[in-house]
Symmetry: C2
């Protein structure tokens, strides 16, 4: 039976189901809707509920009644509402819940659920110096568009950094983008047709779900283990769903903090090869590693693996800059697509990132940051354990702790509760396509330094028990 929606009516749930099918293109303009009786039976609601839902959709112009024949999808498209695509009806476990709450949070709000460092942990001295350097630079850097591929010395530097992780890439295979998210978005546009199937990890970064919905892709997920995706499920999903694409985090996995093992990396690539699968490896947390984990792109040589990254997590999320490293024969097409959809790249932010990365203080800052994160990880983990939360693994590096609430409490309930205290948590199911992480929370240890976080958790747990 359909879950009750927030506003409490089954009618709204039926309406949402129809909207999802239209948005997901399983119903298109002119298609006949299921008969009222059949649909009521399928959704286990009364026929009067379906009648009312169809009437409201007809009043909005989304569907049209044809006398004696039934209801049809109207030909005028309605704007794309991402919140209405996909199976979720509860905004608390919608992929946008965490991002919108975190991005909109005021200065007094606490955000242990967000995915980035507090500004005071970022290399702001380096950024200030880079801004002063830029204020003395030449006119074109300040006022002209970037070249289609983007600033050559920054692409050279990225190629060298990738080399340090065993990935052999020429600067001509690297294209700068406005952000890591935009890199992924461009690649989805380049590689996907609406209705194509894409595989993600379960759990995975929640915005992968949101982005794929925007591309009207079918999403399937494979359980993530402490050493990478579950290989048996991976093989089975390839056979069953023939996905076009697999999107994953390398290095430090979001949200679990797990690391891919060389054995799993090799198996994933072998299966991908057999199935003609393309893989996008999002390496956004590279600079947090103490010891580099294996990269799929290193094993594969950028043949069927596309490598993307950005500087939002370690340098600045305010000065946006990301990149794509891909096989050379894809670069021309990607450039056309970048020009069509964003025109010239953001030259100034690329110059800023280059200046900070070149600044001698950056490496030292990152070393200090990694140790600070290790200490915070140990402290936060200890405090959470005290409250009865059990970590799925003890991550070796990064920002994230993926911890299970005691007594299988529902993390969406706890998150709603905490929001009343101006604390933004990240409930497990926003990361899980299968909705199988309902008792997990993702903690960003750098944003969990305030006593109020633990007090609110204690309160929410006590209330729910």
């Amino acid at each position: 039976m359909l879950d009750k929606t927030k506003n409490g009516t089954r009618i709204a749930a039926v309406i949402a189901t129809i909207r999802q099918r239209i948005a997901g293109r399983s119903l298109t303009a002119g298609d006949k809707l299921p008969s009222i009786r059949a649909f009521a039976r399928a959704l286990q609601v009364s026929t009067s509920t379906v009648v009312e839902a169809y009437d409201r959709l007809a009043a909005e112009g989304v569907i049209q009644a044809r006398a004696g024949s039934g209801f049809y999808v109207a030909s005028q498209a309605v704007p794309l509402a991402l919140s209405e695509i996909g199976p979720k009806l509860d905004r608390a476990v919608d992929p946008f819940w965490v991002s919108r709450q975190s991005l909109d949070a005021g200065g007094d709000d606490l955000k242990p659920g967000c995915g980035w460092l507090p500004p005071s942990w970022m290399p702001d001295d380096g950024i200030r110096r880079a801004l002063r350097t830029l204020s003395r630079t030449d006119g074109p850097s300040l006022a002209d568009y970037g070249t289609p591929l983007g600033l050559p010395p920054l692409r050279q530097l990225i190629a060298r950094r990738m080399g340090d992780h065993g990935i052999d890439a020429s600067p001509d295979q690297i294209m700068l983008t406005e952000s890591g998210t935009q890199a992924l978005d461009l690649l989805c546009r380049f590689l996907l047709e609406p209705g194509d199937t894409v595989m993600v990890d379960d759990p995975c970064y929640f915005n992968f779900h949101a982005l794929l919905r925007a591309h009207r892709a079918r999403i399937v997920s494979v359980a993530y283990t402490p050493t990478g995706p579950d290989i048996e499920q991976f093989a089975k999903a390839l056979q069953e769903h023939r996905p076009r694409l697999y999107i994953t985090n390398s290095a430090i996995h979001n949200p679990t903090g797990a690391m891919l093992s060389p054995v799993t990396a090799h198996r994933v690539l072998k299966l991908a090869e057999q199935a003609g699968l393309t893989i996008i490896e999002d390496d956004i947390f590279a600079d947090f590693e103490h010891v580099p984990a294996p990269r799929l792109a290193a094993f594969d040589g950028l043949d069927r693996v596309v490598h993307i990254g950005s500087f939002s997590k370690t340098l600045s999320a305010s000065a946006r800059c990301g990149f794509i490293a891909a096989r050379p024969d894809w670069i021309e097409g990607l450039i056309d697509l970048k020009i069509a959809t964003t025109f010239g790249g953001g030259r100034l932010t690329a110059e800023l990132v280059l200046n900070v990365l070149r600044d001698g203080s950056y490496r030292k800052h990152m070393e200090g940051l990694r140790h600070r994160l290790s200490r915070a990880m140990a402290e936060v983990n200890a405090r959470l354990k005290n409250l009865g939360l059990v970590p799925w693994i003890e991550p070796q590096a990064g920002l994230f702790l993926w911890s299970r609430l005691p007594d299988d409490l529902d993390s969406a309930d706890v998150a709603r509760q905490a929001l009343a205290d101006n604390i933004v948590l990240a409930p497990g199911n926003v990361f899980s396509l299968s909705q199988s992480a309902s008792s997990f929370l993702r903690f960003n240890v750098s944003q969990s330094q305030d006593e109020r976080v633990f007090a609110a958790l204690r309160k929410a747990i006590a209330r729910k028990r």
Copy 2:
């Protein structure tokens, strides 16, 4: 008969035709291709040409032969190649020709065909001051993501500027984007289904064509007159093609430099209302006007008109920042889509733009710039007339002169010729869906200050005569 392609073979033309149909979704996975005989007849080529084209596509895995049954579109999608969507086979009049040549041009190249000012005409003192101010600002401005809508004081300032053009918008109706192009891209995603029809001006900014191809939209065009779109054609196109959207430049039209008259604006809106048409009004050249032209959004009150803009043309193309002003009930959906596809906005560039706009020197700079452009317009126009080029109109403001070559010479030929002299021109047909502007060139008067531009034109004209 099909045009010969650059590499001189009819086979390539047949291959391109099939690819276009696949990319444009008129052939999808599993569809049967036309029979060799029928297709040869339709394209007026020999059957052996079609056989060879099908064989090559089969070798690439794009199509598959089934014994005794014919050829079928393969189920594995091929990456989206924008250069292959749409009717054009000649890269010289492809929408990417001008943008790629201009963005890739070296320091010694001249680009009278490009769409932006030389860096030395931009307010670089203001930008330098703003960078120094930013280097002394707080941590969150330097390192944190922007809020979903974007920097509040910049949205307030944009609302006031829109008010000066008679457009009543609250800051909550304004969402910052990474650029004007990204604003348009987000709106297309929000409003279009693949296969929807979009109307543009003929001629119009060439990147509208490229962007709409990326959205797999059907494009129709309406002739532009010196006072706006041809109203009879506009009405007829609405009836015949039922477009979902009309995209146009307000204020100073690109490439013609024309201005919408109040009468035409009123008629366009009346027809749009009858047809349920949404209009996107791109106001990117607002700051170049001496006297404000009517805005569709001002007449309409941001009901069916969405207003977009950016600061790339007058402030900096290196620090990217654009905006969307739309009806309040669309803003939530647009925020979700922005987060899904770019996550946080570029806060640093928004802060930079705000600082420059607030700097007392900006208004004075713009006054000087407008006069400098007026002088350049008169000079360049006089020199072009000397060479036999006739302006379509005498623009009242802006950067662009839309001029016709003598003797109906082909501007793509002239542009190819000029490129050998490292001069990037903008041939008319890149702006024209109907390919009816073959003897026009768009000149950016600020980039036509070098004697070599006119020498190269003289040479190319003499050679072609």
